[in-house]
Symmetry: C2
Subunit: 204 residues, 2 copies
């Protein structure tokens, strides 16, 4: 669970296809891809998920579906990411099975506490910094918050929200295992290079 | 598959709770309940589905979930209803298993033909009449269209769209096995009586 974690947003891809951006990002070294779609129909979402799953088949990169367990099951994804408005974790685990990757968002200390004794695959500290990509979030954790989570939680930590080349090292030093990005890759002139820059920081 | 088939729409319940309307409708004799929610979060939809499933536990009335196979699986619903923008039928059947009720909407002859050799539980001719409840539909089938479907299709037919007490008998005579209604029950002053009126017409 260490690496660059891409969360997709088709609206930030500036007319490029999502598959194109994902492929470039994977070539640049992202270690995990989460498809997040809040407006597509089930049919469209599943169709996209199947296409991305096929594309990822050539790489050792798991596919995570945001929220939709049905889409994840139907496309053979490796897991789901569960936010606060999504299915309860226990229900998702029951449907996905014991081997699936199931990550959860933690926006408050109550969330961190709640998941401490559950077998989640990771907790995503959201947001680390304020970000325009996702505005329905809680107060940013900041580096201090991240450090506090790290000292308490037994789970791998994915940091998300406002992460870029200039703050990545500090986020890692504060305890993040993975760096999740949306616009840093989706909106990059060169998604492959953007992914590689973060990967190099993580491995550096 | 003969009876009154309630499709829910919380916006048409005029401030009454959905559970309240469903309970009254079931007391009035509906034989099947489909929960349709296009705006709720997964968490809210599942919470509602679990509540309605529990409520229906005392009656021999199956619970069908519109579109969302994940919600259906998580709440233990009896089946799903699949529209043209939803998961493909084969994928839904694969996830729901061979015993689930899986109904599909047919809006064109292509749809009717497509499902003829598949093991769908029913086809829903949609809409039979023009209706303000759902505007993203094809051209109404009308009674002639319903008769034509009946003479061709091997599947039970659920008629939906603009059905009420005054046209119910004709819809049945044209070949419908079930009468699906939304506003006729959800918006009725007395949902129990509205359901019973249609049930009495079906039972002749």
């Amino acid at each position: 669970m260490r690496g660059v974690y891409l969360v997709t947003d088709r609206d930030l891809c500036f007319g490029r296809s999502l598959e194109d951006v994902v492929l470039k990002a994977v070539r640049g070294g992202v270690s995990c891809v989460q498809l997040r779609e809040k407006t597509l129909s089930t049919k469209e979402f599943l169709s996209e998920a199947i296409a991305v799953k096929e594309l990822l088949g050539n790489f050792p990169v798991p596919l995570i579906i945001n929220d939709r367990v049905d889409v994840a099951l139907a496309c053979g994804a490796d897991g789901v990411h569960i936010g606060r408005d999504d299915m309860p974790y226990a229900a998702a685990r029951g449907l996905m099975g014991p081997r699936a990757i199931i990550g959860v968002s933690v926006e408050t200390w109550d969330d961190v506490m709640f998941f401490q004794d559950l077998d989640v695959s990771y907790i995503a500290a959201s947001p680390v910094f304020a970000t325009p990509t996702k505005t329905d979030t809680g107060k940013p954790w900041g580096l201090e918050g991240l450090r506090a989570i790290k000292s308490f939680s037994r789970h791998p930590i994915v940091a998300i929200g406002g992460i870029n080349e200039s703050n990545a090292r500090k986020v890692l030093e504060a305890g993040a295992d993975s760096l999740a990005v949306v616009s840093w890759i989706c909106s990059a002139d060169n998604p492959e290079m953007a992914a590689r820059q973060l990967k190099n920081i993580i491995e550096g």
